[in-house]
């Protein structure tokens, strides 16, 4: 087993190293969170190169074009990939989210239409969940989908927000309200929609970094084909939640290798600029290193648990743990940089990116406050927050 994993690591390294030293050298360690708007064209080419090498969708079953790797092998793949500086995956929403969702819930036609493009790195996806007046209240969906009785297609009106990579993507999956007057989790539909069509407008959101990884996506009568509903109309919430479940997957180990890379940059900086001599900084660097080690053990515990569909305590607390660790790493980076941290040399350096971009970690995909509610209610069984009697007018 361990030998098999070692041989996989070697195979990947043999394939990856020359490419990142040569033709794709500029992509090394690029395109991660906070850097997602970098080098779009080149990273799409990279996705296709990965596919040619058989390194896309490695955790998918072979029948759908994957490698059928075991969990342990996937962990090794993601760790090694990130460790060697493999670029941020433009295809990760397809590979990690919508692909597994379609494999689990899609029709045969949907699988045949969409899975190959994801595997080949030729079709890219983004997600349309959040809305301006929803935020943490994910179920407060205002986007409407109306069925055309003649064609069976769905016409969509509304607005999504915080859609990363929308400007680089071909398709979006959208959670919309298909039963007028329904509320909360009821009456939602999960749609697959082409972005390049009339009635879709994408506007980048400028972030505090000055760059734009996120977008607003406006729908004004854009169409989702009748065959592009996942699950039944009304089942949208169930599909959407299942999809989020796939997100807590093995790729988290790859994320941790990015973190390790950032931490190493920070350690190098502290050694160079004298920060390594400041006792309080030393203690914080050690704490960061130990914290990352603990995150890794936490992720391995998540994966070693019985696959009974229950989110256990270590899994429920993981988002809160990693996002706050990363935000603190960003703060530490700024403090190690000292006054120079405020100075920009052309564009943000990696540590400045971490400092600023990590502020989003404790907000997106469930704010700290929502995470603590979840932990208190699901892991500790404490009383649920009272829901208001009168629904929001938002």
């Amino acid at each position: 087993m361990s030998e098999q994993i070692e041989s996989l690591r070697r195979e990947l390294a043999d394939w990856l190293t020359p490419r990142l030293a040569g033709p794709f050298g500029q992509l090394r360690h690029r395109g991660g969170p906070g850097d997602e708007d970098a080098l779009g064209v080149e990273r799409k080419e990279w996705e296709q190169e990965l596919a040619r090498g058989g390194w896309s969708c490695v955790g998918w079953p072979t029948e759908h074009g994957g490698r059928g790797l075991s969990i342990a092998e996937q962990v090794a793949f993601h760790e090694e990939y990130a460790r060697l500086g493999g670029p941020g995956r433009m295809g990760h929403i397809g590979e990690g989210l919508i692909g597994p969702t379609l494999i689990a819930f899609g029709t045969e036609e949907q699988k045949q239409r969409f899975l190959p493009g994801i595997v080949a790195g030729t079709e890219f996806w983004c997600q349309g969940y959040s809305e301006p007046n929803a935020g943490s209240d994910l179920a407060n969906v205002q986007t409407r989908a109306v069925r055309d009785p003649d064609t069976g297609h769905w016409r969509v009106h509304g607005q999504k927000v915080w859609t990363s990579l929308a400007h680089e993507s071909d398709w979006i999956f959208v959670l919309a309200r298909c039963e007028p007057g329904s509320q909360g989790h009821q009456g939602l539909i999960f749609l697959l929609m082409k972005l390049d069509q009339p009635g879709v407008e994408i506007r980048p959101i400028r972030q505090l970094t000055g760059t734009s990884e996120f977008n607003e996506v406006f729908f004004d009568g854009a169409v989702a084909e009748a065959g592009h509903v996942v699950g039944a109309p009304g089942d949208g919430w169930k599909i959407a939640m299942a999809l989020l479940g796939f997100e807590r997957g093995v790729s988290t180990l790859g994320q941790q290798m990015h973190f390790a890379h950032e931490l190493q940059l920070l350690v190098d900086t502290a050694r160079k600029n004298g920060g390594a001599k400041i006792p309080v900084i030393r203690a914080r660097l050690a704490e960061a290193a130990l914290g990352l080690k603990v995150l890794r053990a936490n992720a391995l515990r998540m994966m070693s648990g019985a696959d009974d569909g229950q989110l256990r305590r270590e899994a429920l607390s993981y988002k809160y743990a990693w996002s706050n660790w990363h935000r603190e790493l960003g703060q530490l980076a700024a403090d190690v940089l000292g006054p120079d941290g405020d100075v920009i040399d052309g564009e943000l350096n990696r540590l400045q990116q971490v400092y600023l971009f990590s502020r989003s970690d404790t907000i997106y995909a469930g704010t700290n406050e929502i995470q603590l509610n979840l932990i208190a209610e699901r892991a500790l069984g404490l009383p649920r927050e009272p829901r208001p009697v009168v629904p929001s007018k938002g």
Partner: protein, 376 residues
Amino acid sequence: MNLELDQDRQMIRDAAEDFLSAYSDSAKVRAAHEAGGMDAGVWQRIAAELGWCGIAVPEEHGGLGLGLFELALLQEQAGRFLLAAPLFSTACLAAPLLAEAGTDAARQRWLPALAAGELTATVALSARGLDPFAVGDGVRAEPDGNAYVLTGRCRHVPQVLGTDLVIVAVRLGGEPALFALPADTAGATLMPLETLDQGRPVAELVLDGVRLPADSWLDAGDVAAIHRALSHSAIALAAEQLGLAQQCLDLTVAYAQERQQFGRPIAGFQAVKHRLAEVLVKVEAARSAVYGAAAEVDAGVSDKELLFAAASAKSFADAAARFAAQEAIQLHGGVGFTWEYDPHLYFKRAQAFSHWLGSADAWRERVAAQLLEDAA
């Protein structure tokens, strides 16, 4: 030690608030950012009409002769409204340095113009930036006949646009000393640096054998006086951080009362209430620290007391500003992370200021040494 916000002080505070809320709102501040980090019109009014630069300058030098407390009240409002003008560098850095450490001649020469708002000034302190614990370590001065020749670099010299005078800290015979460098002196280059905080541009000063006449030497040879002045500056900067923290709290309280989630304003959630209360606790602690430090200085303090006063003001104000700005982003949620909303402006400034004039860590270590009597 007078901590009372009496009528005079309230008038100063309220007038500053009224002026800045009208002339330094978010739109004007952002426009100033696009224009290189300075709003020349606002500065003109502050300096020439409102007379803020002279508030703490002694009357004999043309100032109002009020204290650090009153200057701190102005600085607090400057922080709240992200003032894009060289009030800090002129009135809080250059003025105390001249008043506290300058020779009589230097004071008479520079302070009246500075107090009258006719002279915009800044200070170049060290190779590592505005580091009060490394004064002069970037530039070497050598006597040369009736003149001095200055060579070296200083990082993070605040506020370049419109600056007339740079007070440069140097080493002269190994000791810290101060020189007056007119900004247009030949051989002196101020290279603007691009910064995250676009409202407080900084520059690198490069001196390549710049020759200055003997009367450019400003200080009276009292290094302790230089450190005293910089402690005053640190307290004035802390006041700006305090204002910044207060504004983050106010912005976030307003947003939380308006923003609906799960059918009610998020301000109604106890977790949000408690977080905001914790911000308030830190802001009030910072205010106590800053007002207390300023009042102590105005009442007269020993150098040891001044160390504790400046350290408490700077470390508590930094902590309040950083925490308040962090929670402003966090509690604004997604929009708190956008360029369009204001929290990031405060966030970047709070972080930048936390490294100006000594980090909290650096101040604390000095306090510890004093407390534990194991260092000079």
